[in-house]
Subunit: 437 residues, 2 copies
C-alpha cells in the first residue's frame, strides 16, 4: 500500500469508525456467536499473494463484528468502563505514525518529556501532593504503565529491592534469598490499598493505613484503577485523602478519563527507588545525557523495554476537553448511577447492596442467590443490555456499571424497565413452580 | 468533539500522517533539543476550558516534532527496527474504535479467536512444529504479549510454578520458599536461549542446548525478538532448527514484520502450564463457556488483565502484503546489510566485527576503542544518520542496523560515504596530533 492509497483508505477508515460509533446503539451489545465460531470463517493459513483493502473491510463486518462485545454501546453496563474518545483516537493515529520506541530519553526526547509533564498535569488535576510530581527538580514523578497489574508488580519489585538493600546495608552477611524468605506483603482480599474495588467500588481507609505503614517502614502502594479518575472533581477528592502517606499511587485514565487503552498512570515519591530495581544499561542503550538530572529513561521504570508514545493521548484529551468538561463527564456518570440506584430503591422487590459512591450500582432481587443468578442469565441471554455479577460476602449480586461515553438517562430508564420486566417474568414462574409443588 | 468533527479531523490527521511519512527523509533523523526542552514550551497545568484541534496540531509541529527521533527515517540505523506499515495503522484505528478489552472470551469473542488463529497463521509461516499451534484441539497455542521482556517473565513464572508443583507432588512437605531458594535459571549474558542477540545478532545453538534441557527437565524458552521475523523465509529457517525441543518460543513481529508496536508473538507447547501459573477467576470474570475446550481466556496467559484487539494488525498486514511480499521485505533488508558489509570490507581502514546474518552489520575502524567512540560521537553529532554502539568482548563497535521500511540502496551508499568522510577527517586529525607530539 503506497501513501496515496493510504490517504484514500485512511479516510474510508475514519468514516467506518465514525459510522461504527454513531450507530453502535443499534448493534446488539453482546454477540450471538458460540466458541470456535471464527476459525471456520477464515482460511487456515495466511495468503501468499496480497489481498485488497475492500476484501478485508468487508470481512470486518462479516467476520469480526458478529463476534464483538460492544464495550462502547450505551447498553453495556458490565465490568468497568474502558475509555474511548475521538481526541484520544486522533492522538493514537499520530502515535502510530511517529512509531518511536521511547525506552530512553535519546530514543525520542519528546516521547519522554511529554510523558513526564503530562503526569504532572494529571497529578495536579487530582491534587496529588507535590512530592509525587517531577517538576523541574523533584525527586518524584509519574510514568505511564500498560495496566494496573503492571504498576502493582513494578512497585512490589521496587519495594522488595529497597528493603533487601536496606537490610543488607545493616547486615552485610544476609543473602537475598534469606531475606526474601522473610518478606511479607500485606494485602486485603483485593491486594494492596485499594480505592474503588472491582466488586463493589469500596474504599480502604488510607488515613488509618498510611501512618501504620510509615511507622513500620512498609512500602505503601495505592491502587485506584477505576475510581482514580473521579478525583479530578473536588467533591470526590476526599476519598484520596491519606495518599500523602503512600510511596506510590496508580490509577487508570484508560478506564474513566477518556484516554483510550492503554494508559495506566503511576507516580512514585522517590524515583530512585524504581530505577534502583530495574536499571538496565547495556552500551547500546547508554547515552551522553543520562546522568543529567533532567533526563528520564523510562526503561528503568517498567518491565518492558519498549513503549509507545502514549502521552500524546493524554495531551490531546486534556486539551480538547479541558478540565471542566472532564469533570462534567465524571459527574454525568455518577448522576446516572444514582438515577439507577433510586430506580432500584423504589421497587420493593429489589435491594441495593453497597453504597453507591461513583458509577457502580450493586443490586439484587431480595431472595436467593439462585434467583439472582437466573435473573442475570436471563438478562445476558436476552442481550438487550450486558451486565456481570460479583459476590459480596456470600451474596450473588448484579453489578450495573455506567460505562459508555454516550450513555444517557434514557438508556438507564430503558435498562431498568427491561430488568424489571425480566424479573417479573422470573418471579411469576417461581411462584407458579411453588404453587404447583 | 462530535462525530461530524471527528470525520473532518480524522481525515486531516490521515493526511498529516501521510505527509509525515512521505517527507520523513527530509527531517533531521535525530533532534537538536537538550534535556528539559519541552517543559518551558507548554503550560504547567491542563487548561480548564477546551482548546481547538487546530491549536493542538500546530503544537505537534512546533513542540513535539522538534524533539522526535525519527525511527522510520531511511537514515535511522540505530537499535533494531520497529515495525510500521499502513495496513497496521489502519487496523490500529479500527482496534481503537472497537476498544474492547479482551481479557476473556466473552469480553469480546472475536478479539480472542482472531488472536488464536493469527498466531497459528504466523506459526505456520515460520514452520513452527505443530505442537505449538492451537489448531482445533491442540494443547499448545500462541498469544500476543506486549514485549519480549514480558514474554520472558511470563515463561519464567510459568516454569517456576510448574517445577514447584512437580516437586511438591513428590515431597508434599516442601514449602514454596524452600524450593525457590534452590531453583536455578540458566542463562547466557543475553538471557535465555537467544536467536539474534541485540549486540551483534548472534545465534545460540538450539540443537545442542535443546536435548540437554529436555533430558534435565529444564523449561527451555527461546527468544528471537528481532531475528524471528526472518524465519518466514525458507533460507533463514534453519536458524530456528531445534525449536522442537523448546517449551516456549517468542519473537516480535513489531520489530521486523511490519506490524506496529506492540505485538510480541509467543507460543507454548502446553498452554496448561501458563494457565496454571496465572489463573485468576473472580466471579465478575467467570462465564458459562470457560470450561469448553474451544475457549481461550487470555488473561491467564499474561501479566496485565487488559488487552487491546492487537490481532487485527496482524490480520491486515498478513492479508494486504501476503507472505511473498513479506518475504521480499525481509530479503531486501538482508540484501542491504550485505551491501553495507561489502562497502566496509572494501575499505582497508575498517573491519567487520561479526558475521552478517540478517539486517545488522557490526563494524569499526581498525584502531583503538577511543577512536571508534570518537567516530560514533561525530556521526551522531552531525545528525545526518543515527547509529548506536555495542561492546563485543572488549571492543567498542558501531552497529549499523537496517531499520526503515523505506530504506533503499541509495541511503546505504549515502550513509557509507558520510561515515568514511567523517572517518577521514578524524584520522587526519589523529595523525596531525601524533605528528605534533
Amino acid at each position: 500500500m503506497n501513501t496515496a492509497e493510504f490517504r484514500k483508505r485512511g479516510k474510508e477508515m475514519v468514516d467506518y469508525v465514525a459510522d461504527y460509533i454513531e450507530g453502535i446503539h443499534k448493534r446488539q451489545v453482546y454477540p450471538d456467536v458460540e466458541p470456535g465460531y471464527l476459525r471456520p470463517l477464515i482460511p487456515d493459513s495466511a495468503p501468499q499473494e496480497p489481498e485488497t483493502f475492500e476484501d478485508i473491510i468487508k470481512d470486518v463486518e462479516k467476520i469480526i463484528m458478529p463476534g464483538v462485545t460492544h464495550w462502547h454501546s450505551p447498553y453495556f453496563f458490565a465490568y468497568f468502563p474502558t475509555a474511548s474518545s475521538y481526541p484520544a483516537m486522533l492522538a493514537d493515529m499520530l502515535s502510530g505514525a511517529i512509531g518511536c520506541i521511547g525506552f530512553s530519553w535519546v530514543a525520542s526526547p519528546a516521547c519522554t518529556e511529554l510523558e513526564t509533564v503530562m503526569l504532572d498535569w494529571l497529578g495536579k488535576m487530582i491534587n496529588l501532593p507535590e512530592a509525587f510530581l517531577a517538576g523541574k527538580d523533584g525527586e518524584g514523578g509519574g510514568v505511564i504503565q500498560g495496566s494496573a497489574s503492571e504498576a502493582t508488580l513494578v512497585t512490589l519489585l521496587a519495594a522488595r529491592t529497597k528493603v533487601i538493600r536496606q537490610l543488607q546495608a545493616k547486615s552485610p552477611g544476609l543473602t537475598e534469598a534469606a531475606i526474601m524468605d522473610k518478606l511479607v506483603a500485606y494485602a486485603s482480599d483485593q491486594m494492596v490499598a485499594t480505592l474503588g474495588t472491582t466488586s463493589c467500588c469500596s474504599f480502604d481507609n488510607l488515613l488509618e493505613l498510611g501512618p501504620i505503614c510509615n511507622k513500620e517502614n512498609i512500602w505503601m502502594h495505592i491502587d485506584a484503577a477505576y475510581a482514580g479518575s473521579a478525583f479530578i472533581c473536588p467533591e470526590f477528592r476526599p476519598l484520596l485523602n491519606g495518599v500523602e502517606f503512600a510511596d506510590s499511587y496508580n490509577f487508570n485514565p484508560h478506564k474513566w478519563l477518556l484516554v483510550n487503552f492503554d494508559c495506566s498512570a503511576m507516580w512514585v515519591k522517590k524515583r530512585a527507588d524504581l530505577i534502583g530495581a530495574f536499571k538496565l544499561d547495556p552500551v547500546y542503550l547508554q547515552h551522553h545525557n543520562q546522568e543529567s538530572g533532567l533526563v528520564t529513561d523510562y526503561r528503568h521504570w517498567q518491565i518492558p523495554l519498549g513503549r509507545r508514545f502514549r502521552s500524546l493521548k493524554m495531551w490531546f484529551v486534556f486539551r480538547m476537553y479541558g478540565v471542566k468538561k472532564l469533570q462534567e463527564y465524571i459527574r454525568k456518570h455518577v448522576k446516572l448511577s444514582h438515577e439507577f440506584e433510586s430506580l432500584v430503591q423504589k421497587d420493593p422487590r429489589f435491594e441495593v447492596c453497597a453504597e453507591v459512591v461513583l458509577g457502580l450500582v450493586c443490586f439484587r432481587i431480595k431472595g436467593s442467590n439462585e434467583l439472582n443468578e437466573a435473573l442475570l442469565e436471563k438478562i445476558n441471554k436476552t442481550k438487550k443490555i450486558h451486565l456481570v455479577p460479583c459476590h459480596l460476602r456470600d451474596k450473588y449480586v448484579l453489578r450495573f456499571a455506567i460505562c459508555s461515553r454516550t450513555v444517557e438517562s434514557v438508556h438507564i430508564q430503558e435498562a431498568w424497565q427491561h430488568i424489571t420486566e425480566l424479573a417479573t417474568e422470573l418471579l411469576k414462574k417461581e411462584k407458579e413452580k411453588k404453587t404447583s409443588q
